[in-house]
Amino acid sequence: MGEILLLAFLFLIAGVIAVPIASRLGLGSVLGYLIAGIAISPLLTQLHVDVVSIQHFAEFGVVMMLFLVGLELEPRLLWSMRNKLLGLGGLQVIVTGAIVMGIAMALGYGWSIAMAVGMVFALSSTAIVLQTLNEKGLMKSDGGQSSFSVLLFQDIAVIPMLAFVPLLAIPELAELIDHSQGDGHGSGMSLVEGLGTWQHVAVTIAAIAAVVVGGSYLTRPVFRFIAMAKLRELFTAFALMMVVGIALLMTLVGLSPALGTFLAGVVLANSEYRHELESDIGPFKGLLLGLFFITVGAAINFDLLTANLGQIVAMTLGLILIKFLVLLALSYVFKISKGDRWLFSLGLAQAGEFGFVLLAFTVANAVIPAALAAELLLVVTLSMLLTPLLFILYDKLIAPAYAGAQAGDADEIDEDGSIIIAGVGRFGGVINRVLLSAGYKTIVLDHNSEHLERLRAFDIKVFFGDATRPDLLHAAGIENARMLIIAIDDAERATELVRYVVKHHPHIYIVARAVDRHHVYELWAAGCRDIIREHFDSSVRAARSALEALGHHPFDAERQTRAYVANDKVAMRDLADVYDPDVPVHENAAYIERAKIVLASHEDAMLDGTKSFSSRVERGWVPPTLDDEAALIADDALDTKSESSP
């Protein structure tokens, strides 16, 4: 127990100290974690910690990341990416692999070793690249999408590679290897072992179908079931269970867990639970990836590195150069836009975490000798360590050169900013329909399953989730939103929400629903400047109806109610000065005093029609008097006289 706590504490403190410093220095979080790992590696060696097995555990962060990426990617979008995915991704793997293989053979290695090395080095680091692209907000750019296509192809390609590696086994090496040693990747369990080819295929297809069908049809009832308990952590538990379950299923049938969860993510991208899932899984992904990067840093074998420093550094730089050139050439073939071309080529120029997996697997299968594998492992690690520096190079030198060309587009992105509506009951529902009818896209959040059911019947798109939770707002894209409409019932939470958004996203325009005038003051104090009292307009209309029914001329009734509204505005402002959010209204003597005066003047004015209130009602359309007519005649006489005199 104590040991686990010590380990957890070590990893956490290393990350908590190193990452903010690295971010502050503009190095990005990935480099921060890697440095943290290097820093604690002597300690871990002292404690005899098996860093590599922790790394295998932390690789699950990559699986979660792909699930989250899938959530962001609607099936339609994925389909439109198919050319890039197969063309760009496929060519990258084949060309890079072939070149590396050629070089290895030129250096005198056998073809089978050379081929395995080619496969290891063809892969890039999904973890580093996606994390960095997300952090910099570049995922949606041309370069980001192209990078993602290549990474996704690689993640899928790992599976056939793993299947292929045993065929490359060298007999002499195999004899040296203790076959009882596992490869450490949970392949001990399998559903497909011992099955024939067609059975294998059938099981695989069934597993994928289970993910797709389950994601489409099972999530909804299960979520509804869980919502009954009204416990937040149950959603988190379910989300985790789902991701772990899919990963397990994929492992059992010999598919990539990353691919499986990615697929599940895509299936759920259109579901109303998308943001809830995102905000539940997000923190786990972040922590696991952080742990993964720390272990990469901690696993560096410094003795081996210092012994062969020149050779390993040369190999690393050579590898980065080769991958960079291949990617750059492909970016011309696939017409990636200019600035994005550099992002794409520099960003993917490292080897990746699947390289670790493949290396371990090749050693276990007697393809690559252990000594060579140890050196290659260092090359992979070093290239990953250098990646954040390549991104910095892009940020500092290349992006500014193209910034001018892109500055003009900035406004358009603004226009695209989304509108988030929190709460879609009777109040928010009307707002949503009006905005939709005006052609806007809205993101609607509600945590009432009944509302969701009702709206889905009318094909209205709503996301499940509690909008007052910052993580859910984040998942719904509050960073890129231009407007937040708060239409929830709960006054206190609405005020909290205003306070949070005003503080953290001051650029967002907020329209808030207030339950009463006290709530208006609370919302105002919290920073909202567009506040609508929920029953005010309808009450005024009811009053107008009553006046009309009592025989008032409809336009007089209209003017009477307009004047009331105008007066009420003045009264609101009057009382705002004495309102104190820290003192309940019924204990605020000054407020009560002033309210009495304001109310009294209201009533007086309405009754005797003398004071300011009446002047606002009667101001317009009052006919001129006989005095006015006399003045006009006199004026005219004066004019005529002055014109006739010379």
Binding site: R562, A566, R619, G620, W621, V622, P624, T625, D627, D628, E629, A630, A631, L632, D635
Partner: protein
């Protein structure tokens, strides 16, 4: 320096060509007040006190609008009905606007030759604007010749919008800088971007 306020009224602003370009130019002129009436009072609830104060604060009041049925868009009429009160603008003690100047900038769909005795509109455009002219007179204000764009529907195709909008900007700047020859304009029929009586800066 004259204090100039431009009141713009067009309920179909987004469909407009001429007025939209004119507004874009007007918004670039510093040191004048520009009011989009339909934006300020979308529900026709005009703030009488505010509007009267605005009139008191300015020397030249310019109404910019498209001709609708030989008159102004409805909101300008509502504005007149409410803001130009007796006792303020006219009638007994109503001399608050005396000595100020009222000017119009109008766009008309009909061609120039339509606005003549022989044309299909049967009258020159000034005839249709006499209610506003007389309003100015009753308020003891000068009425300057309107800045007119005829044939506003065809103007975009004929490439006439840009020059009209640029002329509008020069007009507003000249009024602001007291370079606009008001006496000359008062006696004119209408002015266009080609014959603005502007004095060059000395």
């Amino acid at each position: 320096m004259s204090k100039l306020i431009v009141y713009y009224a067009h309920p179909g602003h987004k469909h407009s060509h001429a007025n939209k370009s004119m507004v874009a130019e007007a918004r670039k002129v510093d040191g004048i007040t520009f009011v989009d009436l339909y934006a300020e009072y979308p529900r026709f609830e005009i703030d009488i006190d505010l509007e009267q104060q605005r009139l008191l604060d300015h020397d030249v009041i310019l109404l910019q609008f498209p001709m609708f049925w030989y008159s102004t868009p409805a909101l300008i009429k509502e504005w007149q009905d409410l803001v130009l009160e007796h006792g303020f603008a006219y009638g007994a003690g109503g001399d608050k606007l005396a000595g100020k100047c009222l000017m119009l900038a109008v766009t008309a769909a009909g061609q120039k030759d339509a606005y003549a005795e022989q044309g299909y509109q049967k009258h020159p455009i000034r005839t249709f604007l006499t209610p506003l002219e007389q309003t100015a007179k009753l308020c003891h204000m000068d009425f300057s010749a309107p800045y007119v764009l005829y044939g506003s529907l065809r103007a975009p195709k004929q490439g006439l919008i840009a020059s009209h909008a640029a002329g509008y900007r020069r007009l507003l700047e000249a009024i602001r800088d007291d370079r606009y020859d008001l006496p000359a304009a008062i006696h004119g029929e209408v002015v266009s971007c080609d014959d603005l009586p502007i004095r060059e800066e000395t």
